[in-house]
Each structure stands twice: as structure tokens, then as C-alpha cells.
């Protein structure tokens, strides 16, 4: 098999900390290589070195037989290397088509050919089975749809080497299946692919080879067929991990939240209730209205009719401020645009919602007690960071997610809404988050869990509601819930409108 790209002895440090230690990696034509590793292991950094976003400190990159150094992303793109970034790099104000062709708009006599851009965009989106009007402003799309646009962008480059950094973390099974069909096609065309995912099942399903990074070192490389999931996890975390979904049966307390006939943008007449001390899961396809429902309960999505009661008392929800006041915590699915201020420090981000805890009546912040809480969470969640002053955008994706969850817990909420809480989180940390959810549940927190990761939803929910096209189409207790049941309800509303 021809080698497309070969990395040798790659080294990279950030402010004195060595995050890649003499890493080798080979990308072959017609094969998909999985790159696995814990949060902060260096996966994204390695990919950014290939694509010229970061510069390596040492080592060589050989592409098509020639040693190359890309000074920026444009150069690698022109050379035929496409990358789908872990953090979406799209501009919400521009249209879908503009985003796909940003910076390389085809022109004729200096005039941009909008019709070409739009028809081409439509073509690539259709290949991904996405029926999205290319003129739609990108910000109007769901995260999953935005992810599909990012993938379409990579396809439109017609690249030889395609790097996919956690492309599936925002997708449900249906879109993931579509993506995998496309990956199969690309593989058949002889492209070389790199696939990063924390959903280990996908690695075994999709990939030919595997490369495992631990703390910046390549600890294993070989064909996927020759490794078991347990071995993979052991290589990643350096120890055994048992029981991925530790479930503790709930001892539900009083009814904590009651949602009655709630109608809001994207959600129609939804009623359900949840008790203190239980985890209620919400399943559904992309666009089913789960996030819209969550945002309505939090006060961000204006409620058109219906009521939300906490502890039996109806609450007014005109803004997220009301949601916070009613002791509702919300971990957004989109940590970049909605969850964390990317340009600011870990610490100030973590306490942004719950700052009142550290303030006196005059609004003075007690920085000492704030710092104590911040370091407690850094430790409890095993957040990989130099200190609390690290800028969020310099953390690895999974560690950002942990900060995001900690941020929602600082104000000590009664109801916690988790919207894709393990997006981009590694196996070990996922398990830590599940254990944490169990602990919070035992302490009497009422948790609403939205997740596109079906095994996760089945694994840790006490009950599961299914949404489809904004309506509640099914409810299951833990022992009745199966993947098939849920899927049936998830597509139910779709066919009859």
C-alpha cells in the first residue's frame, strides 16, 4: 500500500510543556487510521502540525515522498490535505455555501460565481444526505448540521489526505451511518484518512489501523483487527477500566420538575416530570427538538404556552437569568459559542454562572474561596491544565467539556440539564462523568440528560423519553428501553410529519 504521509519524530512543546514526544505516524492510501488517546493526549495537536496550523519543534513530515513544511493551513489545503476540526471553525453569520467555499471562492473576471458555489455546496451536502439550503445562515443550523457542513467543506477540497478530528461527537447514529458510507467511498477512491473519536465502537467499525497516543507518546500502532477494546483502553489510559456504564438504581424523591403542555420554538405540547434523585434521558434524532426543549426550560427559548414547575411552584422563565435563579443548571451542547468564553481563563469561566457563591452583598468577589472551589473541581474532574489561569481555547476539547460541566455545578442547581455532556470526552473521563452523575443523583439532584450516544443513554438513565419533530413520542422505564424501541419512536413523528 502506498504511503501518502509519514511523520517521524514529531516534537511539540507549549510554553515549556512537552505535549508531543517523538511521535511517528503513517497514513496510507485506501486506509483509515484511527488516532486514539485520552483528552489532552496530543491528538489534535498532531493533526494541527500536519495541516500547518502549528509548527513542529522537531521531526519530519514526508508527503508523497517529499519532505514538507506547511507554514499555514492554506498551504496544506492546496497540497491536498483536508482537515475537519474538532472545534467547528465556521462563521455563523455567513451562509452555508459561503462557509464551504470561504477563501477559495471560484471567480470569473473577478466576480464571485455564487451559482457555482451554491450548486457545488448542494452537491456535497446531498452526498451527506443533508437537505440544507446552501443559502441558510450557518448559525441557524443545529450543531450536528454544522458538523455536516464542516464535513462537506472537507469533501469539497477533493483532498488526498483527510483528517477527521472527532467528526461524530455531535452526530446521532443516523448521521454517523451516513458519514461512514462516505468514508467507505473515500477509502475505495484510495484516499488516506485519519479518524479521531472517543466512541470506541466507531473505531472498530470504521478503521483499518490504529495509533494510540498517551501523554504525547505513541504507545501502540497496528491493524485494528489485532487489538481488543480492552487492550485499546489499557493503552490509552495505562490501566484497566471496568464497567463503562456504572449504574446505581435511583431512589427517587419528590417530584422536582414538572413540565406541562410546553410549547416553544421547536417543541410542541411536551409534558413530563422528573424527581429528585433520578436521571431522565432524552433520545431523538438531530433536529428532534431536545435542545430547544432544554433551552425553553432554562429560559433561553421563549415559552409560547404551558408551564414549568419546580417543587410544585410555577416559575417564570423570561431569560436564562430566571433559569439560573430557579436553580436550573444547563450544560450547553455548543461549548464554543454558548458554553465557555474561549478567550478567557479556565477559572473565571468555571465560576461565571455561580459567582454569587463567592460574592458578598456588595458584589465583591472573595477570590480566595473562589480559588479553592476552582481547584477542587479541577482535581475532582481530573482536568488537565497547568493552572486555573490557562486560556480555555488552549485546553484540549475534552478538558473544555469538563470545565463546562463544572461551571454548571458551581451554583449548586436542583435540576441539571446536560446537553451532550460527554461530547469529545475520553473513555476514562466519560466514566468519571457517569460516576459523578450517579453521585449527584444520590445527593438528590434531578438530572435531565440529552445524549446522542445511545449506549450512554441506555446505560445511565433511569427513564428515557423520546422526542421526534418536537413532540414526545415515547417514554420508557429503564428495563423496557432498548435501542430498537427508542429508534422506532425517534423516527415515528418524522413520517407522519
Amino acid at each position: 500500500m502506498t504511503i501518502l504521509l509519514e511523520l517521524q519524530g514529531i516534537e511539540k512543546s507549549f510554553s515549556g510543556i512537552n505535549v508531543l514526544k517523538s511521535v511517528d505516524l503513517t497514513i496510507r492510501a485506501g486506509r483509515v487510521v484511527a488516532l486514539a488517546g485520552e483528552n489532552g493526549a496530543g491528538k489534535s495537536t498532531l493533526m494541527k502540525i500536519i495541516s500547518g496550523i502549528y509548527q513542529r519543534d522537531a521531526g519530519t513530515v514526508v508527503y508523497n515522498g517529499k519532505e514538507v513544511t506547511f507554514a499555514n493551513a492554506r498551504q496544506s489545503m492546496d497540497a491536498g490535505i483536508g482537515i475537519i476540526h474538532q472545534e467547528l471553525n465556521l462563521l455563523p453569520e455567513l451562509s452555508v455555501a459561503e462557509n464551504i467555499y470561504l477563501g477559495r471562492e471560484p471567480t470569473k473576471l473577478g466576480k464571485i460565481q455564487w451559482d457555482v458555489i451554491e450548486s457545488q455546496s448542494k452537491k456535497y451536502l446531498a452526498q451527506l444526505k443533508q437537505d440544507i439550503d446552501p443559502k441558510t445562515p450557518l448559525g441557524k443550523l443545529s450543531i450536528a448540521q454544522q458538523q455536516m457542513v464542516e464535513i462537506a467543506k472537507a469533501l469539497s477540497l477533493n483532498a488526498e489526505v483527510i483528517i477527521m478530528d472527532e467528526p461524530t461527537d455531535a452526530l446521532t447514529d443516523i448521521e454517523t451511518a451516513v458519514l461512514f458510507e462516505v468514508v467507505d467511498e473515500l477509502r475505495a477512491q484510495g484516499k488516506g484518512l485519519v479518524f479521531i473519536s472517543h466512541r470506541l465502537g466507531e473505531i472498530f467499525q470504521m478503521c483499518d489501523d490504529i495509533a494510540i497516543l498517551r501523554d504525547g507518546e505513541m504507545v501502540h500502532q497496528g491493524p485494528v483487527a489485532e487489538i481488543t477494546e480492552d487492550e485499546l483502553i489499557r493503552h490509552m489510559v495505562g490501566r484497566e477500566l471496568s464497567d463503562q456504564y456504572p449504574f446505581v438504581p435511583a431512589t427517587p424523591g419528590d417530584v422536582r420538575i414538572e413540565v406541562e403542555n410546553l410549547t416553544a420554538h421547536g417543541a410542541k405540547e411536551i409534558s413530563f416530570s422528573a424527581h429528585a434523585g433520578e436521571v431522565v434521558g432524552f433520545a431523538g434524532l438531530v433536529g428532534a427538538g431536545r435542545t430547544e426543549l432544554a433551552k425553553a426550560i432554562f429560559g433561553e427559548n421563549p415559552i409560547q404556552s404551558g408551564t414549568v414547575k419546580i417543587d410544585g411552584k410555577p416559575i417564570r422563565l423570561r431569560s436564562p437569568q430566571d433559569g439560573v435563579k430557579a436553580q436550573i443548571g444547563y450544560v450547553t451542547e455548543d461549548r464554543k459559542q454558548e458554553g465557555l468564553v474561549q478567550s478567557q481563563e479556565l477559572g473565571t469561566n468555571m465560576t461565571l454562572t455561580g459567582l454569587d457563591r463567592f460574592c458578598n452583598v456588595l458584589g465583591f468577589v472573595n477570590k480566595a474561596s473562589e480559588a479553592v472551589t476552582i481547584s477542587e473541581y479541577i482535581e475532582a474532574f481530573a482536568i488537565k491544565t497547568r493552572d486555573a489561569n490557562t486560556i480555555i481555547s488552549n485546553l484540549s476539547g475534552g478538558n473544555q467539556q469538563k470545565v463546562s460541566i463544572a461551571k454548571s455545578l458551581v451554583p449548586e442547581p436542583k435540576v441539571l440539564i446536560l446537553d451532550e455532556p460527554t461530547r469529545g470526552v475520553d473513555v476514562g473521563a466519560k466514566r468519571e462523568i457517569y460516576t459523578l452523575i450517579n453521585k449527584l443523583k444520590a445527593e438528590g439532584l434531578c438530572i435531565l440528560l440529552i445524549s446522542s450516544d445511545m449506549p450512554e443513554l441506555l446505560g445511565i438513565s433511569d427513564r428515557i423519553h423520546v422526542l421526534s419533530s418536537g413532540k414526545l413520542t415515547g417514554s420508557f422505564d429503564r428495563d423496557e428501553a432498548t435501542q430498537e424501541n427508542i429508534m422506532r419512536c425517534a423516527v415515528a413523528g418524522q413520517t407522519n410529519g
Binding site: 515549556g16 432554562f298 433561553e300 431569560s319 436564562p320 437569568q321 433559569g323 439560573v324 435563579k325 444547563y330 450547553t332 459559542q337 454558548e338 458554553g339 465557555l340 468564553v341 474561549q342 478567550s343 478567557q344 473565571t348 461565571l352 454562572t353 459567582l355 454569587d356 460574592c359 456588595l362 458584589g363 465583591f364 468577589v365 477570590k367 461551571k407 451554583p411
Partner: protein, 314 residues
């Protein structure tokens, strides 16, 4: 390592020191105590306005109306003093008027979704117009009551040899520093500038914070108007023309990003001092005022270019 961070975090301070060293070589009188106090006094008005502007710019906004608010507030204050209003009341009323004008911009910006540039541009025009109407285009004298004398002292007097405006500037600096770095409000200001969506979803009352920020900017512009009026013993209808630009320049020279979310009040003071030293140096070196404008623009450009180069290399 350490030294590097120090240099990159204190570029404006280092710039100021280099500038002062250069000027003192060129003119021996420059470093004298009298001249230093003179510079501080001349800087104080711009510095007070620029500190309010810093809050606004950290929220990713801009306030073009400060020069007009300064003039309007000055006129109000002069007539109050002229009517023998007790000093404290006259000062308070003037500052409240300034805060009210600023808050109005804030309301327009946050409730009607008007861009800060436009909202405060409109404010700048209308408030200047109102000042001209109110003063009928003529200066308003502070009059001959006793209170006029204490008002003059407020702006032109000294405490322990330090000009009152300089003391005021230091007090405002301490206050602003405290608010920005030690209070919940300060955190919210930074968060809004960093990402307004995130701030809102974190339960921050974004509208309220923005209104307060513009109110603060208006109040400090009014305070600057008071200082100016007191020193001149009269309010000029054209006072403060173009002051918004000097304030913005001071903020930017101080390292606060116009994109919002980042900035320090200390930097703004340094930025204001750089402009003050530059003005003073060009004056004592007898550079004609036409050339002064060119020289000032060039230095600001240089500073901003150095700053943004540092950022992209980081």
C-alpha cells in the same frame, strides 16, 4: 521566560518609559517636578474619560458621546454654580445627568439592538446640539457667588502640592481597578465582551450590565466636564470636541482590545500618560500644533502596530 512575559504584558509601560527617556534627552526641563505635575494635570481629564471608555470597550462597545456629555455637563454645572447651588449638590446633579445620558445610550444599545457606534454617534450629535441650544452658543460663567470660588478650588486647587484633578484621577483609577478586578460586575463586563451569548446563557443580565457601563462612561465624562469647567471658571459650548478620540486612543494604547473581553485599567492610565507626555514634549520642543497632530497619530499607529505584532507571534 519571566522577563518575556513581563515585557509582553507591560508593553505600554515600557513604551512610556522609553518615550520619557527620549524626551528628557532632548529637553533638560522635561523631567522637573513642576513639568511632571503639569503633565499629570493635563492628562487627568483624558484619563478620567478613558477609564469609563475602558469599561465600554471591554464589553466590545464604543462610546463616541463622551466629548458632548462633557460639554453638556459642564454647562449644567456652570449654571448651577452660577445660581449659587451648594457645591456638593451641583456636582452630584451634574454627574447624575452624565450618567443618565450614558444610560440612555445603553438602553438604546441593549433594548433596541442598535450598534454602539451608531447609538453613541447619534448621542454625540444630539447632546452637542442640546448644549449649543442650552448655552445659546456662548460660554456660561460660573458667576461671583462664594460657591464659585470653592468650585474653582475644586478644579484648580492643590492638596499637599498635588493638583486636585490628579488626586481625582488617582481615586477614580483605584475605584475602576477595584470594580473591574474585584467585583461581580467587573467579571460580567469581561464575560460580555468575551462572548455575549455565553454571558447570557450563564445567567448574566447582559442588558443591565451594558446600561450600567454606558452610565459609568457618561458619569466620568461629566466629571471630566466638571474639572474643565472649574479650571476655566466657565463652560464652553464647544468644550470636549474630539475628546472621544483621545480617550479611545488611550484605551487602545493601554492594550485593551477593541474586540472586547480583554483589557486593564492600569494600561489605560499609561495610555493616557503616553498621550499626555507626547503633547507636553511637542509643546516644550516648540513643534507647531499642525505637526503635533501628525506626530501624535504616528506614535499611536506605531504603538498599536507593535502591540498587534506581539499578539500574532505569541
Amino acid at each position: 521566560m519571566k522577563l518575556n512575559t513581563f515585557i509582553s504584558e507591560n508593553k505600554s509601560l515600557i513604551g512610556l518609559i522609553i518615550l520619557m527617556a527620549a524626551v528628557s534627552f532632548a529637553n533638560a526641563n522635561f523631567l522637573g517636578v513642576d513639568n511632571m505635575l503639569n503633565i499629570l494635570r493635563q492628562t487627568s481629564i483624558n484619563a478620567v474619560i478613558a477609564m469609563g471608555m475602558t469599561f465600554v470597550i471591554i464589553t466590545a462597545g464604543i462610546d463616541l458621546s463622551v466629548g458632548s456629555i462633557l460639554a453638556f455637563a459642564g454647562a449644567i454645572c456652570a449654571s448651577l454654580i452660577g445660581m449659587d447651588t451648594p457645591l456638593v449638590i451641583a456636582l452630584l446633579v451634574t454627574i447624575i445627568v452624565g450618567a443618565g445620558l450614558g444610560a440612555t445610550s445603553g438602553v438604546i444599545i441593549s433594548y433596541f439592538n442598535v450598534q454602539p457606534f451608531i447609538a453613541t454617534l447619534v448621542g454625540m450629535t444630539m447632546i452637542r446640539g442640546a448644549t449649543l441650544v442650552y448655552t445659546q452658543g456662548r460660554p456660561i460663567s460660573t458667576g461671583y457667588f462664594d460657591v464659585a470660588e470653592s468650585f474653582y478650588q475644586f478644579g484648580a486647587g492643590y492638596i499637599l502640592g498635588i493638583p486636585n484633578p490628579v488626586i481625582l484621577m488617582i481615586v477614580i483609577f483605584a475605584l475602576c481597578w477595584f470594580i473591574l478586578s474585584q467585583t461581580r460586575f467587573g467579571r460580567h463586563v469581561y464575560a460580555i465582551g468575551g462572548n455575549e451569548n455565553v454571558a447570557r446563557l450563564s445567567g448574566i443580565n447582559v442588558k443591565k450590565v451594558k446600561i450600567l457601563v454606558y452610565a459609568l462612561s457618561g458619569a466620568l465624562a461629566a466629571l471630566a466636564g466638571i474639572i474643565l469647567t472649574a479650571r476655566l471658571e466657565s463652560a464652553q459650548p464647544t468644550a470636549g470636541l474630539g475628546y472621544e478620540l483621545d480617550a479611545i486612543a488611550a484605551v487602545v494604547l493601554g492594550g485593551t482590545s477593541l474586540a472586547g473581553g480583554k483589557g486593564r485599567i492600569f494600561g489605560t492610565i499609561i495610555g493616557a500618560l503616553i498621550i499626555g507626555v507626547l503633547n507636553n514634549a511637542l509643546n516644550i520642543m516648540d513643534v507647531s500644533s499642525y505637526y503635533q497632530m501628525i506626530a501624535k497619530g504616528a506614535v499611536i499607529l506605531l504603538a498599536v502596530v507593535v502591540d498587534s505584532r506581539g499578539k500574532s507571534n505569541a
